[in-house]
């Protein structure tokens, strides 16, 4: 069986896979990182989004072998070792941007990539357009959009702390 070596959340692993093994299967089934979810089989829902070498990708639409040598970050790898949440995670909690939580890992990973690639800042419309690869069935996106708007200010250093959600 072929082998793939990759670094996931800072830890390098070498894993035996089949040719057909998807990156998401490697993460969930071989590395037991079950925070990355599978919500569809047509590459549309985005529940499986992770970062590969700094870019958000759908881990259900990438072979595990294509990730050989790559650096992968999953939802489990976002918080600091002391448990401090990434500003995007914190913003999702503050703005009630999740309900059932299933789309959340992919949504957060997509949102971080979106914000990182737009240091000039994103408008509400741009955030909505930027989420085109992620489906959420619970929230109506309203609070997700607000959370991302708030998180970008912290991620870009425009605010030192998250703007609290209005009561």
């Amino acid at each position: 069986m072929p082998q793939v070596t990759l670094t996931v959340n800072g830890k390098t692993s070498t894993v035996e896979v089949e040719g057909r093994t998807l990156l998401v299967e490697l993460l969930r089934e071989k590395l037991r990182l079950t925070g990355t979810h599978v919500g569809c089989d047509t590459s549309q829902c985005g529940a499986c989004v992770v970062h590969v070498d700094g870019d958000s990708v759908k881990s259900c639409t990438m072979l595990a072998l294509q990730a050989d040598g790559a650096t992968v970050t999953t939802i489990e790898g976002l918080a600091k070792p002391d448990g401090t949440l990434h500003p995007m995670q914190e913003a999702f909690r503050e703005y009630h941007a999740l309900q059932c939580g299933f789309c959340t890992p992919g949504m957060v990973m997509s949102a971080i990539d979106l914000v990182q690639k737009h240091p000039q800042g994103l408008s509400e419309k741009e955030i909505r357009e930027g989420l085109e690869g992620n489906l959420c069935r619970c929230t109506g996106y309203h609070n997700i959009v607000k959370a991302i708007a708030a998180a970008q200010d912290v991620m870009h250093g425009r605010r030192s702390e998250l703007q609290p959600a209005a009561e």
Binding site: P2, E18, G19, R20, L22, D41, T42, S43, Q44, G46, V49, D55, S56, V57, K58, C60, T61, M62, L63, L65, Q66, D68, S110, D113, L114, G130, E132, G133, N134
Partner: protein
């Protein structure tokens, strides 16, 4: 997915060797089209040949009055390329609207052009800009390259290396997406090129096609109103639950108008 062997050659020659030796091997670049098809077991390749290790296939270069885009250049890199944005802004805009961000982070121009999905974006630009498709064996004019739904002039084992886009005087692209799949339901790429005015329709028909009446109208009078007066026949167009042939035919004119407006 059926299982398959996986190869990752580092040169075009090695890739071609593997693909030529095994007619059931399939090249993969970004995999954004191939992998969903494989997941649904629509395809049973014996081997998948990953081209991503071939450095020479990546990147955008300006060569005189043309842009050369390597087959493995990702949509996101085309969208963000200062060279593309300066020379053919409509192409950068097209690339920035393919699929979603994650698709653009993986999908490549070579994969899109070689696949020739009638609902894909790139083939419209390639044909409208009178581009040349460069393979490991030859150079193919866009007019000869696209041969209908999922069919191109590529021969088995022939590898797409790059696409050369002559820089047009102006160009514009507009599309209406299928609301569910987000693929193109009807789109129009218009360009004023050295070889004349070209109008290419994607999404609406079984493959990309040049709209001769619109080209004529725009040649006579480059304006949105001029192209807006041209009706597209619904004959032979695609129809599905989201868009009948008649609706697509209507959209073709609307998108052509918008593309002209976008081109300026």
């Amino acid at each position: 997915m059926y299982d398959f062997a996986y190869h990752k050659p580092t040169s075009v020659a090695d890739a071609v060797k593997i693909l030529s030796a095994d007619p059931d091997a399939r090249p993969i670049s970004g995999g954004q089209t191939l992998l969903p098809a494989l997941k649904h077991r629509l395809n049973k390749p014996t081997a998948v040949v990953d081209l991503s290790g071939i450095a020479e296939l990546k990147g955008v270069k300006r060569q005189g009055d043309k842009l050369v885009i390597g087959a493995l250049t990702k949509h996101m890199d085309v969208a963000n390329s200062p060279e593309v944005q300066a020379a053919i802004p409509a192409l950068a805009q097209l690339a920035s609207g393919i699929g979603d961000i994650q698709v653009r982070n993986r999908g490549t121009i070579g994969g899109s052009v070689a696949n020739n999905d009638p609902a894909a974006d790139y083939p419209a630009a390639v044909l409208a800009l009178d581009a040349t498709v460069v393979t490991d064996k030859r150079r193919i004019a866009a007019d000869d390259f696209f041969q209908g739904m999922f069919t191109t002039a590529l021969e088995p084992g022939e590898l797409l290396i790059a696409v050369e886009f002559p820089i047009p005087e102006k160009a514009g692209y507009a599309k209406m997406r299928n609301p569910a799949s987000r693929y193109v339901m009807a789109g129009a790429f218009v360009a004023k090129t050295k070889s004349g005015i070209r109008v290419v329709i994607n999404g609406a028909g079984p493959g990309v096609f040049r709209q001769a009446d619109m080209e004529k109208a725009l040649t006579a009078n480059w304006s949105a109103d001029s192209v807006g007066a041209v009706k597209q026949s619904a004959d032979g167009l695609n129809g599905d639950i989201h868009g009948s042939a008649e609706y697509r035919a209507h959209l073709v004119t609307v998108m052509a108008k918008r593309a002209v407006t976008a081109a300026g």
